[in-house]
C-alpha cells in the first residue's frame, strides 16, 4: 500500500523534468508520516517502510550524482516556490559541487544505518524519527534560502533528541537534553544573525527584507563591523555543530549514549552541517569577516585537532574515544576551510565525506560489538581478534582509513588540508600535522587493547560477523578504498564550486589574495599527484611550496 502511494506521488511528478531536489526531501518526509501511521502491532512493517524510503532516497541521490553537470560552478536543479510572500521567504533549493557529495553521503549513510542497527524497543517511533532526520538533513544541505536552511537545521534537532533520549543507553536523557540545548543555543545566535542580515542587506524588492541566499550574495551593502558581528553569530551556531574546540563538550555525551544509528547519522551527517554551514553561510555570505576571523578559526581548529586527539587517547570507553576523534577530524575540516585557498577548502569538503564514511563505519562496528557484549568499555574487551578475525580485519581497515593511511580515503583529505594550510599559515599546519600521529596513537592503542592478546572468559564466545553484517560493511569499505585510490571524480565536481568561493573572496575583500605559493600550477595536477599514492609527488609539492615561500 505504502509503495503504491509513493509511486503515485512519483507518477504525478514524473513530468519532463523530474523535481529531484524536492523529492529528496519529501520522499523521506512522506515515509516518516507513513511510518507514523503504521499499526503498532506490526513493527516489521515500519522497518520495511523505513528501508524502502531510505533506499529510494539513496537511489535518488545517486541519480543526482549521475545527472550533475561536472565543471559547472553554479547551482543546479534549482527549484523556487514562494512561501511567505511578504518576507520573501521561499522554498528555494539548489545543489552545487559542495553540497552534492554531502547529499549523496546522506543518501548512502542513512539506509546503511537502517540496515546496521535495530532498535531495542518501540521500532515504529524509531524509524519514523530516523526518516524524518534524513529529510531534515537533506533539506539543510539543499536549501538556498536562509530561512529554510535555519528551519531544516533546527528540524534535525527534535528527531535526534528523541532518538538519543528514548532509544539511547544509560544517561540518555541527560545527553539528549545537553545536545538539544547546546545546539539550540548556537542556533539562537544564528537566527538573530540571519534575521538581521535579511533586514540589513535589504535584498528584497525596493530594499525590503529577503532571505534569498543568491540575492543577498548579490548585494554589497554590508558594513564591515556589521558583517563581522553577523558572522560571529553564525559562527557560534556552526562551531557548536562541528563541534569546534571550546564548544565540543556535548558531542562525547551524545555519542556515548546514542543508539548506533543515531551515532552513525550524528557523526556521519549532522556534524557536517556545521562545516557546510561555515562554507556556505560563512565564507560565501561574509567574505570580509571570514578573512578577518580566519586566524582565530584556524587556531581553534588546530587546538581541536591536537586536543581532540590527546583526549581521545585517554578514553576508557570506545564510543567516547571515537567521539573525541571526531572532534579532531572535524578540526581538520574546519582548518581546511579557513586556509582560504582551493586546496584547503577542497580537502575540507573531502574530509567531510571521508569522515562521514570512516566514522560512520566505525560506529557501525561498535554497534555490532555492543549487540554482542553490551559494553563499550575497553577494559572489558580483550583478544577479540582471536575469536572474530573478520570483525577485527574490517575494523583494522576502517581504523587505518580514519588514521589517514595513504591509499585509503582519509589520507587524501587530510593531505590537501595540510597542504592548503601550510601555504596559508605554515605553523598551524605543522602543529596540526602532529594530529595525524596522535590519531595513529589513540586508535592503534585502543585496537591493541581490544583485539589483541588472549581473550578472557567473557570474550571467548564473541561471535564473528554474520553475513548480513558483512554485507552492510561492503559499500563502506568499497568507498574507503575507491576514494583513497581514485578521488578524481569527486574532486572534479567539487573544484569549480570551491574556485567560485575563493574567487569571490578575492573579489570582495580588498587586499586579499588566495594564499598559494606556487606559480600557475594546475590545481588538478597537484591533487592528482597527491592521491597517486606516491609519497614522492606529495612531498615534492610540499617542498616546492616551501621553496617558493622563501
Amino acid at each position: 500500500m505504502s509503495a503504491s502511494i509513493l509511486s503515485a506521488v512519483f507518477a504525478s511528478e514524473g513530468a519532463a523534468t523530474f523535481p529531484i531536489l524536492p523529492a529528496l526531501i519529501f520522499v523521506p518526509l512522506i515515509g516518516a508520516v507513513l511510518i507514523a501511521l503504521m499499526p503498532k502491532s506490526r513493527p516489521e512493517l515500519s522497518r520495511q517502510m523505513a528501508i524502502i524510503t531510505g533506499l529510494l532516497t539513496g537511489v535518488l541521490s545517486i541519480a543526482l550524482l549521475v545527472e550533475f553537470k561536472t565543471g559547472d560552478a553554479g547551482f543546479q536543479f534549482v527549484v523556487q516556490q514562494t512561501w511567505v510572500q511578504s518576507l520573501d521567504i521561499k522554498f528555494f533549493l539548489g545543489v552545487d559541487g559542495i553540497s552534492l557529495f554531502l547529499v549523496v553521503l546522506t543518501g548512502i549513510l542513512f539506509p546503511i544505518a537502517l540496515f546496521a542497527a535495530k532498535p531495542e524497543h518501540s521500532p515504529k517511533g524509531y524509524y519514523a524519527w530516523l526518516t524524518l532526520l534524513m529529510a531534515g538533513c537533506m533539506g539543510a544541505f539543499l536549501s538556498l534560502d536562509l530561512f529554510l536552511f535555519f528551519l531544516m537545521f533546527e528540524v534535525t534537532l527534535v528527531p535526534l533528541y528523541m532518538l538519543i533520549g528514548k532509544w539511547g543507553h544509560g544517561r540518555r536523557v541527560y545527553a539528549a537534553t545537553k545536545f538539544f540545548l547546546y545546539t539550540m543555543l548556537g542556533s539562537a545566535f544564528m537566527l538573530v544573525s540571519i534575521v538581521t542580515l535579511a533586514v540589513v542587506a535589504g535584498a528584497g524588492d525596493k530594499g525590503g527584507v529577503s532571505f534569498d541566499f543568491t540575492k543577498i550574495i548579490a548585494t554589497h551593502n554590508l558594513a564591515t563591523s556589521t558583517g563581522r558581528w553577523l558572522f560571529l553569530g553564525m559562527a557560534i551556531a556552526f562551531a557548536v555543530k562541528v563541534p569546534s574546540f571550546p564548544f565540543h563538550t556535548w558531542l562525547p555525551d551524545a555519542h556515548t549514549e546514542a543508539p548506533t544509528a543515531g551515532s552513525i547519522d550524528l557523526a556521519g551527517i549532522l556534524l557536517k552541517l556545521g562545516t557546510y554551514g561555515f562554507l556556505r553561510y560563512g565564507l560565501e555570505l561574509f567574505p570580509e569577516a571570514t578573512v578577518w576571523f580566519a586566524p582565530v578559526m584556524l587556531t581553534l581548529a588546530t587546538i581541536g585537532v591536537v586536543y581532540g586527539g590527546i583526549v581521545a587517547a585517554m578514553q576508557r570507553n570506545l564510543k567516547r574515544l571515537i567521539a573525541y576523534s571526531s572532534v579532531a577530524h572535524m578540526g581538520f575540516a574546519l582548518m581546511g576551510l579557513f586556509a582560504l585557498n582551493v586546496e584547503g577548502i577542497e580537502g575540507s569538503v573531502l574530509q567531510m565525506i571521508n569522515h562521514g564514511i570512516s566514522t560512520g563505519a566505525l560506529f557501525i562496528l561498535l554497534g555490532f560489538l555492543y549487540t554482542r557484549r553490551h559494553t563499550y568499555e575497553i577494559s572489558q574487551l580483550k583478544g577479540i581478534g582471536k575469536v572474530a578475525p573478520v570483525f577485527a580485519g574490517i575494523f583494522t581497515l576502517v581504523m587505518l582509513s580514519s588514521i589517514g593511511v595513504p591509499g585509503l580515503n582519509g589520507f587524501v583529505g587530510e593531505f590537501l588540508i595540510l597542504l592548503g594550510t601550510f601555504m596559508a599559515h605554515r605553523w598551524w599546519a605543522v602543529v596540526a600535522a602532529t594530529g595525524v600521529i596522535i590519531a595513529a596513537l589513540y586508535l592503534l592503542w585502543a585496537y591493541q587493547r581490544v583485539f589483541q592478546g588472549e581473550p578472557d572468559e567473557a570474550n571467548k564466545s564473541f561471535p564473528d560477523l554474520k553475513i548480513s553484517e558483512k554485507l552492510v560493511m561492503v559499500p563502506l569499505i568499497g568507498l574507503i578504498i575507491f576514494l583513497g585510490i581514485y578521488p578524481k571524480p569527486v574532486l572534479d565536481r567539487i573544484a569549480p564550486s570551491v574556485k567560485r568561493v575563493v574567487t569571490r573572496l578575492e573579489v570582495e575583500v580588498q587586499g586579499f589574495h588566495e594564499p598559494i605559493t606556487r606559480n600557475g600550477a594546475d590545481l588538478l595536477h597537484i591533487t592528482e599527484s597527491s592521491h597517486a599514492m606516491n609519497g614522492e609527488h606529495g612531498l615534492g609539492v610540499a617542498a616546492n611550496g616551501q621553496e617558493a615561500n622563501k
Partner: protein, 544 residues
C-alpha cells in the same frame, strides 16, 4: 469619558430649534459594537435563563451556548473587518459600503480598526476554547452551573472593550470588567483552598494595579488635557512638553497597570500562584484572554497614542522585555509543578510580546498581533492537557503526575509535546513564526541585543519544555519499556479533546502556512481616527 459625553451633549444641545431642549446623546454605530453586545447580552441571557430553569440543565447546555455566543460574536466582527479593510464583498455577500476604513463611534469612546477587531476575534476564540475545556471539568469538580460561563463571557466583554477602547477611561472600564470577572473565576473552586487563595491574591494585587492605572490616567489627563487617545495623540504631535514630569509619571503608572495584567517582570509575582490555584480552564483563559486584552491595551496606549513619544517609554519596555524573558524562563526551570512552569513560561512569552511592542513599528504591531493569536492556541491547548491530567480534585499537576503519559494516552501526550515544542519555538510550528516575527521586529528597530537575549531565553525555556516532555516519556519505572497499566489511562472528554485538537491543528497549520495568519495580522493595524460628530440631520456618519 462621562465628561466628554456630557460635553458632547452640551454641544449637540446647542442646536436646539425651538424652546424645548433636546439632549441628544452621541450617535452610536450599533453594528460596530455587535460583537460586544452579543457577548454581553449572551452572558446576561444565560444568567437569566438559568435562574428560570426548574430542573438541572441538560449536560453541556451552557458550554455549547457559550461556544455559540462566542462564535456569533466573532462572526459579527467580520462585516466590520471587511469595512475597515475596505473590501467590496465578504464571500458571496456584496457589501457596497458607503464608508470604508477604520472609524470611531460612540462619541469617540470606541475605535473600530483592524487591530481591535483582530483582538476581538482572538478573545472570542479564547472563550470558545476555555468553555470547551470547562465543560467536563466543571462536572468533574461538581461546579456545574452557568456561573463559570457567564463570568467567562463577561470578562470577554471587558477584553473586547479594552481592545476597542479609544479613551483612557473606556480602557479602564474594560480592564475592570475583565478583571473582576476573572477574580471570581480564579476563586471559583470552593473545594480547593488554593483556588480561594488564588482568587483573593489576584483580587488584592489586581486592585492595586487598577489603582495604579487609574492614577496614571488621571496624571495623563492632567498633562495632556484629554483622556481621548486621538486628542492626546494630536496634543503630543503639536506640543513639546518641557516640564513633563506629570506626563512621565502618568505613562509609567499606566504601564505598571497594564504590565501587571500581562504579568511582565517585575509585576509578575502573582501569576504563578494564581495560575496554579485557579481552576485550570480559568487559567487557560487567564493566560490567553487576559493577556491578549492587556496587549491590546498596551498597543493602543503606547504604540497608537504615544508613538511619537516613544523615546521615553521604549527603554522601559526594553528592560521589562528583557527581565520578563530571562527571569520567566529561568524561574520556570526550577519548578516542579507543571501549571507553575507554564505560568512562568507565560511570563517569558509576555516578554516576547513586549519586545515586539517596544519596536514601535508596523512590524512590531504585526508581530504582537500574530504572537497573541498563536499564543492563545498554544497556551489554551497546553492548559487543556493540564485540565485533563489534573484528574478529580484538579490537584495532580506535579511533574511526576505526567509520568508515563506517552504510554497511557499517546494522543494526549503527543498533542502536549507538539504544543510544548511550539511554545519552545521549534520550526514548522506556529510558535516559531511568532518568535521569528517578534525578533524580526526587534532587529528591524535596531534592537539586536534584545533579539539576542530573546533567543537565549528561548533556549532556556526550551529546557523547561524538554523537562516536561521527558517526564511524559518516563513510566515511573526504571527504563520506560514496560507498559503502564490500563487503569492509568485518562479519559479524554469530547469537548476538551476537541479544544486541544483545534489548538494542535491550528498550531501546525499556521506553522506550515504562516501567510494565512500573517496576512490578517498585517491588516490588524490600530488607527487613530477622530470621531466625526453626526451632522445636524442626525445621521450616523463615521470618518474614514
Amino acid at each position: 469619558m462621562i465628561a466628554s459625553l456630557f460635553a458632547q451633549a452640551a454641544v449637540t444641545s446647542a442646536t436646539v430649534d425651538t424652546g424645548n431642549v433636546h439632549v441628544a446623546g452621541p450617535s452610536i454605530d450599533w453594528l460596530a459594537l455587535l460583537p460586544l453586545l452579543i457577548l454581553l447580552v449572551g452572558a446576561l441571557l444565560t444568567l437569566t435563563f438559568s435562574s428560570f430553569l426548574k430542573s438541572r440543565a441538560p449536560k453541556g447546555l451552557f458550554t455549547w451556548t457559550t461556544v455559540a455566543i462566542a462564535v456569533g460574536a466573532a462572526i459579527s466582527a467580520l462585516p466590520m473587518w471587511a469595512r475597515v479593510q475596505g473590501w467590496n464583498s465578504l464571500m458571496w455577500w456584496n457589501l457596497d459600503q458607503a464608508h470604508t476604513g477604520p472609524f470611531s463611534t460612540a462619541g469617540g469612546a470606541v475605535g473600530i480598526d483592524g487591530f481591535s477587531l483582530f483582538i476581538t476575534v482572538v478573545l472570542c476564540i479564547g472563550v470558545v476554547l476555555a468553555a470547551l475545556l470547562a465543560d467536563d471539568f466543571l462536572r468533574r469538580e461538581s461546579m456545574s452551573g452557568p456561573e463559570f460561563y457567564v463570568l467567562l463571557l463577561l470578562s470577554a466583554v471587558g477584553g473586547v472593550i479594552m481592545a476597542m477602547s479609544n479613551d483612557l477611561i473606556v480602557l479602564f472600564i474594560g480592564l475592570e470588567t475583565l478583571s473582576i470577572a476573572v477574580y471570581v473565576l480564579a476563586g471559583m473552586n470552593l473545594r480547593r483552598v488554593q483556588s480561594q487563595e488564588s482568587g483573593l491574591k489576584y483580587f488584592i494585587l489586581g486592585a492595586f494595579s487598577s489603582a495604579f492605572l487609574l492614577y496614571g490616567i488621571a496624571m495623563l489627563y492632567g498633562a495632556t488635557g484629554s483622556t481621548n487617545f486621538v486628542d492626546i495623540r494630536e496634543f503630543m504631535a503639536t506640543v513639546v512638553p518641557i516640564h513633563n514630569g506629570l506626563l512621565l509619571l502618568g505613562l509609567v503608572l499606566v504601564l505598571v497597570g497594564l504590565a501587571f495584567k500581562i504579568s511582565a517582570v517585575p509585576f509578575h509575582a502573582w501569576s504563578p500562584d494564581v495560575y496554579d490555584g485557579a481552576p485550570t480552564p480559568a487559567t487557560a483563559w487567564m493566560a490567553a484572554g487576559v493577556k491578549a486584552a492587556a496587549v491590546a491595551g498596551l498597543v493602543r496606549v503606547f504604540m497608537l497614542t504615544f508613538s511619537n513619544y516613544a523615546s521615553t517609554w521604549k527603554p522601559i519596555m526594553y528592560v521589562l522585555a528583557i527581565l520578563s524573558m530571562v527571569l520567566g524562563a529561568a524561574l520556570a526551570i526550577v519548578q516542579s509543578n507543571v501549571k507553575r512552569m507554564l505560568a512562568y513560561s507565560s511570563i517569558s512569552h509576555a516578554g516576547f510580546i513586549l519586545m515586539a511592542i517596544q519596536a514601535n513599528s508596523g512590524n512590531g504591531i504585526t508581530a504582537a498581533a500574530f504572537y497573541v493569536a498563536v499564543y492563545t492556541f498554544m497556551v489554551a491547548g497546553s492548559f487543556g492537557v493540564a485540565t485533563i491530567v489534573g484528574r478529580k480534585g484538579d490537584g495532580n499537576h506535579e511533574l511526576s503526575d505526567y509520568q508515563g503519559l506517552v504510554r497511557s494516552n499517546p494522543w494526549l501526550a503527543g498533542s502536549f509535546i507538539l504544543l510544548l515544542l511550539a511554545q519552545a519555538g521549534v520550526p514548522f510550528t506556529a510558535g516559531f513564526f511568532a518568535k521569528f516575527l517578534a525578533i524580526t521586529a526587534a532587529a528591524d528597530a535596531h534592537a539586536v541585543p534584545l533579539a539576542l537575549v530573546a533567543m537565549v531565553s528561548a533556549v532556556i525555556s526550551a529546557f523547561l519544555y524538554l523537562r516536561i516532555i521527558v517526564a511524559m516519556f518516563m513510566s515511573g519505572g526504571d527504563d520506560g519499556v514496560e507498559d503502564v497499566p490500563r487503569s492509568n489511562r485518562l479519559r479524554v472528554p469530547f469537548a476538551a479533546g476537541l479544544a486541544i485538537g483545534i489548538c494542535v491543528v491550528v498550531t501546525v497549520v499556521y506553522g506550515l502556512f504562516p501567510d494565512l495568519l500573517l496576512h490578517n495580522a498585517r491588516a490588524a493595524t490600530p488607527a487613530a481616527v477622530q470621531y466625526e460628530r453626526p451632522s445636524a440631520t442626525g445621521s450616523t456618519t463615521a470618518g474614514g
